[in-house]
């Protein structure tokens, strides 16, 4: 396994943790001395940095911050809030979050140094995933340079690595395929939903991905969870290895990447190795706020160690990850990992008929079926006030009519058994929207429905 950064990747886990701890302590003092957002909060909370002797003390003494805290700071201190940590004239750009939470967009400023740091986060993962100088990588995410951290930091990573990044996020699907056939890619960056769409578009155009893109060696996925079966199916269709990365605007690029072994191997999910020399990451039980054990899921709490501007200390991301300990992956790197395919959002969770359901669980069932092109779900109240869950499925055009009814019944049965909720599965009346970046398949219409029912009966 070739190391991109031998001085870091050949450290023992103990030596890496020792380096990380020293960086964290330095970073905390630096944040207190230079960043009014943290100084104010820590003074109010009575935080004494000298008392932070170990990770437990760090966890107990330094309070968490949330998206709501950052938005409040921005609102009270426009335009940037008080946590940039630099003078306005030192900022050379801004990212803002994509807003899928629905409550507002956090701002992240960056300095010149930060722009190189963003690229550095990506260059590790891209190298592990086989990208080399001069390789063509097609980036299908919308926008390559600008306010979205994902595509912009990827661009910077490709520049640092010396790869030939072709950014076609703004093109139509057919245009994307046209350019990909013109400039044969070795690598592709795409979200899972869109990878499936591209495969379907190849079929519509009369060729298979394997035939059209024989040079393709890797596909890097992000932003959606997926199952092992789906990943293996995609590898078979595309003829190359799938990889995954986890990143965020808060991190400023990538935080964790699969290694050479990929997103799935030996019929098991792979490991997304966390760049622990660049960030201090905790995976905590959402209720108890204690670290979870190996194989357990928890909330990712992020402290950036290398960002100059807009640094974060104990930011509760609301992202749900599965923690895998150091040494769990046979690649031998010293980092701990997140399970590949398993990242989800806590705020995606919908309570359906008293059951906590994450859309990812339904994706894993419905989208696994090759007969399904896309689906949407909704939870609503009927006129008589019954809570109802509906899954609307768009089938592939060549699926025979009678087979569609059978498949609807099959899916309903599997969903009932595995998710524990009775759902009506019906065929969509019209083609459903496709997603090129963040996916939102579910709507919760119960509030409006409850109001309508109340109005009707009063």
């Amino acid at each position: 396994m070739s190391r991109y950064s031998p001085a870091i990747e050949n450290l023992s886990p103990d030596a890496l943790q020792e380096l990380q701890w020293k960086k964290l302590l330095y970073h905390l003092k630096h944040a207190y001395d230079t960043n009014p957002f943290y100084r104010t909060r820590w003074d109010r909370a009575g935080v004494t940095l000298d008392k932070i002797a170990d990770p437990k003390a760090f966890r107990e003494l330094v309070p968490l911050i949330t998206k709501a805290d950052l938005l409040a700071d921005q609102k009270e201190n426009p335009p940037y809030g008080t946590r940039m940590g630099f003078r306005d004239q030192d900022l050379v750009g801004l990212y803002w979050t994509s807003g899928t939470s629905g409550i507002g967009q956090e701002l992240y400023g960056h300095t010149t140094v930060d722009t190189w740091y963003y690229g550095l986060t990506w260059s590790h993962g891209l190298y592990w995933q086989g990208v080399r100088r001069g390789n063509v990588l097609f980036n299908t995410w919308p926008g390559s340079v600008g306010q979205l951290a994902g595509p912009d930091s990827l661009t910077r990573g490709l520049i640092l690595l010396g790869a030939n990044g072709i950014h076609i996020g703004t093109q139509s699907t057919d245009e994307k395929l046209k350019y990909m056939r013109r400039f044969p890619p070795k690598h592709l960056a795409v979200v899972p939903a869109y990878l499936q769409r591209l495969a379907a578009a190849c079929a519509e155009n009369g060729f298979t991905p394997r035939e059209a893109f024989p040079n393709l060696e890797s596909i890097v996925l992000a932003t959606e969870s997926f199952g092992v079966d789906w990943a293996e199916q995609m590898e078979e269709i595309w003829g190359c290895r799938l990889h995954e990365m986890y990143g965020s605007t808060q991190q400023g690029g990538g935080l964790a990447f699969t290694c050479e072994l990929g997103a799935v191997h030996d019929h098991q999910p792979g490991h997304m190795h966390v760049l622990e020399h660049l960030s201090y990451v905790e995976v905590l039980d959402k209720e108890t706020r204690e670290p979870v054990g190996p194989g357990e899921e928890g909330e990712l709490v992020l402290t950036t160690l290398n960002r100059d501007s807009s640094t974060l200390v104990r930011f509760a991301t609301d992202d749900k990850v599965v923690f895998l300990p150091r040494g769990d992956c046979r690649c031998g790197r010293p980092f701990f990992s997140f399970r590949s395919g398993a990242v989800a959002r806590y705020d995606d969770m919908i309570k359906m008929k008293m059951v906590n359901v994450w859309p990812a669980a339904i994706d894993a069932i419905v989208l696994m079926r090759p007969e399904v092109a896309e689906y949407q779900g909704r939870v609503y109240m009927t006129e008589s006030g019954n809570e109802t869950v509906e899954v609307r499925v768009e089938f592939i055009p060549e699926l025979a009519h009678d087979h569609r009814r059978t498949l609807e019944r099959d899916l309903a049965a599997v969903l009932r058994e595995r998710v524990g909720v009775r759902m009506d599965v019906v065929e969509a009346a019209a083609p459903l929207p496709r997603f090129e970046f963040k996916v939102r398949r579910w709507t919760d219409e119960r509030k409006a429905g409850r109001e309508r029912v109340l109005y009707t009966v009063s």
Binding site: A7, Y26, H30, D90, T112, V113, T115, W116, Y117, N306
Partner: protein, 64 residues
Amino acid sequence: MSTQGRDAEFATRLYALVREMIAQTESPVVLDAGVQMLGLAKILLTEAAPDAFEHVRLEREPVA
């Protein structure tokens, strides 16, 4: 000296050289290019001389 040791020494010297150039130049283009080089020099230190983070983080970048 090991390869890693040599990388660390070059990274440290380069960082110091770029800082000195930025501090002494009166040319806007040298300053602009120098600040970009400072960003690269800092990530070189992060990866090649990871223990050298303390003096790096005390920096504020110069304003042209």
